[in-house]
């Protein structure tokens, strides 16, 4: 991510979120990252970790910085089409937020953040109802 893009992303985040909700690290290096706080409607707080090494030309990897579990207690470690997760790394659950064909470099990190925030809401709904995330996306959206 070059400096112009970084400034543009920063501009969007500043407009949309309090400063304390996000933190870029390693900008200008080969391993830039972004950490963001996400509070769900139920008040739970999650930290999202964005791997920006190939952003914006490629979809950024986004992780919840802990290993989430399903309602049945299984770790959300692997790829799951029904729960919209990808292979975990660092012991963190990885969210599948964008498909290859819908990705363009125009997509902002804020937009990715909002989709992940929505994923977290659906995850919590899953914990309450047992319904998989796919149910909410396929049946309602």
């Amino acid at each position: 991510m070059d400096n112009a893009r970084y400034q543009a992303e920063l501009g969007v985040l500043r407009r949309k979120l309090p400063n304390s909700w996000y933190c870029f690290e390693g900008i200008g290096t080969s391993t830039p990252t972004l950490k963001m706080a996400a509070r769900t409607n139920s008040g739970n707080l999650y930290t999202l970790h964005f791997d920006l090494s190939q952003f914006p030309m490629s979809i950024p990897k986004v992780f919840v910085t802990r290993m989430l579990k399903t309602k049945s207690g299984l770790e959300m470690r692997g790829c799951s089409a029904s729960m919209h997760t990808l292979d975990s790394e660092h012991g963190w659950t990885r969210i599948c937020h964008y498909g290859y064909s819908s990705w363009t470099p125009n997509v902002s990190l804020y937009k990715v953040f909002i989709k992940c925030r929505l994923w977290l809401e659906m995850y919590e709904a899953h914990l309450r109802t047992g319904k998989e995330i796919q149910y909410y996306l396929n049946h309602q959206a």
Partner: protein, 482 residues
Amino acid sequence: MNENQLNNLAENIREEGYNPATSGTDLVYDPASGEFRTVPRGYSPSNGETVTKFTEGGFASESGHVMVYLREDELKSAEEALGSAEEVPAYVEEIDSDEVFHIHFQPEIKKLPGELRLPGFCTRDRNAINGLSHSSLRFCVLLTEDGPEVWYRLRPLKSRQWAQAEAFIVPSEENLFSRSKGILEVDILRDKRVLVIGLGSFGSQISIELAKAGVGHFALMDFDRVELHNLSRHTATIHDLGRLKTNVIEEAILGKNPYAKVEKFPVNINEDLPLLYEEVEKADLVICATDNNTSRFNISGALVEKGKVGIFGRAITRAEGGDVFRYRPGGPCYCCVVGAGNLQEEEISDVASARRDGRIAAYVSAEDAEAMVQVGLSSDIEPICNLMVKLALVELSRGKESGISSLEEELTYDCYLWANRRDRHYANWKPFPAAGQLPSILRWYGVKVNKDEHCPICSGNIVLDDGEEEINAMASNIDLNQ
């Protein structure tokens, strides 16, 4: 008379001074006497009939018609080397058994699969082929005032007799593409450098076509190796399985234009952006023939920053169609085109590659992933490659008077669409004969693309899509309490 007896008869005739270069002999069988006899080739026997002409050169000929190819530039080097030496070594490659040979004077010339290398020498001394020396050597290039003569003996003979082969000279670089003169500015193309990124079914064909047109410098980028599933659409052959595509295509380019300069980079450009930018800067034109958008966006970024022309091409599912995009500095970039929604979903030709860049989601099973691989025919992607080559030649020759100059006025669009069949995306198109002015298959359609004023790659005025409206609408449709 059995085969051995016939061979002995042939050998005896050669021992008597038979010269296969100047005469031929046929074998005649006389049923009245029950004897075989030899007659001059072409002679109609009054009794008996010609029963065999053992070889193309006639009965008792050591071999058939031998053709030898020499390169003009190498001959000049050999001539210079003979200024200070009586002989220089020659390296002879047998192309077709006993019939065609290529002679080089540089040992580093690569052998092709199946070639046999034989020893030879080059001299100005005609006595060299009459004396007893060089008993193990089979080819002699004799430099005379009238030009080179090539003498050979395919097997060491008791008589040590040499025969003259027919020599053909491969012209030097400036004359190699003389047939294209008038159509192409071959002198200009010789100095041009083309960077080809992705050497799959597109990049391999395009590289070779550009070499055939006389482009003189190539940089080839691809980290992949030739696999079995490549063969149906790639220029590589079964002998190339497992080889780096950069090596295979280098060989193919040099096979068309031995004077081309080729640099190879077997790297993943998405993981080595500094190299990508460096090579884009050096190139006069970039061919983007990769199979994923990440690399296309990266290449697009490099083209914009370095102000270079790039040609992008791809096929959509099962190669039912495809598209070509040309980036010219100041115009819309690849990201502008994708953002404008002009392009259809592309084909998946290789599971491993599609998994790597996410075109096949990681949670798709191996079985389902295999089912997603839907490649088209080589003949379906060739029209797309062909337009990419034409655009490349127009760009490389732009502003110079040549036979293709008029194409500058034709090929003015940024993006071109092509359909091979009336499938899926093109199912409602009219059949070709009845289409009239309506869209039909097997025709190119130009698309004018507007530059995105807020494009994150080429505008310099980035306005990001925060997507709030879209996502809020999506969220409002989801009831998480159900």
